[in-house]
Amino acid sequence: MSNVNCTLRTILLFFLIAFLVTCAIVCRAATATSAPDAVALLKHSDTYRNGWPSFVTRVKITNFESGRSDEEELYEVSQKGTDKTYVEFLTPREKGRHVLMLGDDMWIYLPDTSRPVRITPLERLSGDASNGDVARTNYAADYTPVYVRTEKVGPETNTEQCYVLELTAKRKGATYQRILYWVRAEDARPVKAEFYLTSGKHIKSATFDEYVDSNGKMLLRKLTLYDEIRHNSHSVLEYSGAVPRALPDKLFYQGRSDRF
């Protein structure tokens, strides 16, 4: 009888241990596969390029062809909220030009044209770094994010755990139809991105190279855009002088003729 009890106890103990081990494995697997909040991640990642609700910054774009500096352009960007951006062109070749973005609508002001000109979505893609790359940096407002996977990115000596998000355009004002976006797992800092057109064509890639503490905010300082159609061409965007500034709504009025 005691042998029977002993056997039963052993079997019960075995099942108990097996049950606990199974629970631990299942819990661990569940923890490992629980997806992060993609929307929160995207909103947080946007703060590295949009430090304040209303601010002014300068962007210098240097275009490189076959590794050699080819062109340099300078812009002053004034941004308010997620849907009002005003870009002033400061290089001599483009001096007097302005781009205004209001929600899904964009205008360009050319000093030698008789009126503000509406920009079609296709025109947003013109240039090595497109108008949209400079004027539309609030991805959370323009795209719907979905968590895809977690992966390590970077050189072997300095890999970073990143979440990969797939962003799909949710409004017609978005510059690209789809973006694959790598953000650092620990702080949602953007690491790299791939940009796709409606046709599915992979048009550009980006690496978010340097960050700097600016007026108490950690902000993007250097971004490199690689042309995926002409592989020997890339553009470096350097951000500087970002300051919060109360910008009046009327700065973003499309009929305002005295730009600047």
């Binding site: 002014v56 062809e65 080819d70 062109e71 340099e72 290089t91 001599p92 070749r93 001096k95 007097g96 209001l102 899904d104 609508d105 205008w107 050319l110 000093p111 030698d112 044209t113 008789s114 009126r115 503000p116 000109v117 509406r118 920009i119 079609t120 979505p121 296709l122 025109e123 013109s126 240039g127 090595d128 409606t198 002409r230 061409s233 002088g241 300051v243 919060p244 500034r245 109360a246 910008l247 009046p248 709504d249 009327k250 700065l251 009025y253 499309q254 009929g255 305002r256 003729s257 005295d258 600047f260």
Partner: protein, 362 residues
């Protein structure tokens, strides 16, 4: 409207705006003063082919165009843009023109402007029916390539609230160049962006002349289309409809149809007063940065044609521009008019006008 009433309204609005501004939160700024400046130096030589015997075949213009803008705390502004030029044609002349010089005060939702200013209310590219204060459009040179257009002398008040903008302007013709067909103009404009339509209603009066009213719109459709239009009633109706199409390659097409009445205000100098309502067409094709490749992206190329459908005359225009570095560019601009001797474009006293120039931009 009596000009005195307009000025009184502006003063009252300024008082109201001061009260509103007192409640505005203080703006955080990097610097109290901001400035912008630019200088363009252009030498443009135009060679006329097959001119009449007594007409010189070469026109040379040397232009210096400085601009300066000063802003103080996003509240007060001063802007000036001048044109100094030496023209060599039948004789040598040197002139200084004021393109724009105005001061502005921004208070709350109000903006007040006084001085000579370029205002662009029309949405047309080559023509305008509703640009009552705009510089005149020249369909063979819609971009005003030498920047010779001058503003109107005016007092203007803008009130901008959300998507709504109201403008009241009074412009005097007292200081305008002699020979222009300008009147003292009082004009009101309401502009709103609704469902993607950038729409404006315009009404006003030319002193001793017409009362007018009309509207303008622009709208982007899909990925590649923009449509625009203007309609204005001034004795009779003037209508403009246009569209822009952008290809994936960046080539841009603009087409416009314009029909003005044959009234003194709208009539072009080359059109007979008895010719009746006129109908014009405009077609443009162009590409800036010819290709995104070194050696190509310095080039801008465009061609256009403007035609009068009634007398079957037209002018073809071809432009090419090349940049050399950041500050220098060279260009060619060719105009070829065609049509009967008595037609609008065919009456040009030359077979072609070929302009070549160099430009320095700082």
């Amino acid at each position: 409207m009596n000009p005195a009433h307009v000025i009184a309204l502006c003063v009252v609005a300024a008082g109201l705006a001061q009260c509103a501004a007192a409640q505005d939160p203080p703006a955080q700024e990097g610097s109290a003063y901001e400035t912008r400046y630019s200088i363009a130096v252009i030498n443009d030589a135009t060679f006329y082919a097959n001119t009449a015997p007594h007409v010189p075949a070469v026109l040379n213009q040397m232009l210096v165009e400085p601009t300066f803008d000063l802003h103080y705390r996003q509240r007060w502004s001063f802007s000036t843009s001048l044109i100094g030029g030496t023209t060599t044609y039948t004789d040598n002349t040197t002139q200084l023109h004021v393109r724009e010089t105005y001061t502005g005060l921004s208070v709350g939702d109000f903006d007040f402007t006084a001085g000579r200013k370029l205002v662009r209310w029309g949405t047309g590219y080559a023509f305008t029916a509703a640009g009552v204060l705009d510089p005149p459009r020249n369909p063979t040179d819609p971009t005003d390539r030498l920047n010779l257009n001058e503003g109107r002398d005016m007092i203007k008040t803008d009130y901008v609230r959300g998507p709504h903008a109201f403008t009241l302007a009074w412009s005097t013709a007292e200081l305008a160049r002699s020979g222009t067909n300008l009147h003292d103009t009082t004009a009101f404009r309401y502009n709103v962006l609704v469902y993607g339509f950038d729409t404006a209603l315009i009404a006003g009066n030319d002193r001793g002349s017409d009362t007018f009213g009309g509207f303008t719109f622009t709208r982007v459709l899909g990925q590649a289309w923009e449509v625009h239009g203007e309609s204005m009633w001034r004795e009779q109706e003037a209508l403009l409809l246009g569209a822009k199409y952008v290809m994936h390659s960046g080539v841009t097409f603009i087409g416009e149809f314009y029909t003005p009445p044959n009234t003194p205000y709208y009539r072009d100098a080359g059109v007979s007063p008895f010719a009746g309502r006129q109908h014009y067409g405009f077609l443009y094709a162009g590409k800036s940065r010819l290709r995104q490749l070194p050696g190509w992206k310095e080039w801008d190329v465009s061609g256009s044609i403007v035609t009068n459908f009634d007398d079957h005359s037209y002018t073809g225009v071809f432009d090419v521009n090349r940049w050399f570095g950041t500050h220098f560019s060279a260009y060619a601009h060719v105009q070829v008019p065609a049509g009967g001797r008595g037609s609008e474009f065919g009456a040009a006293p030359y077979a072609s006008a070929n302009s070549f120039g160099v430009r320095f931009q700082l």
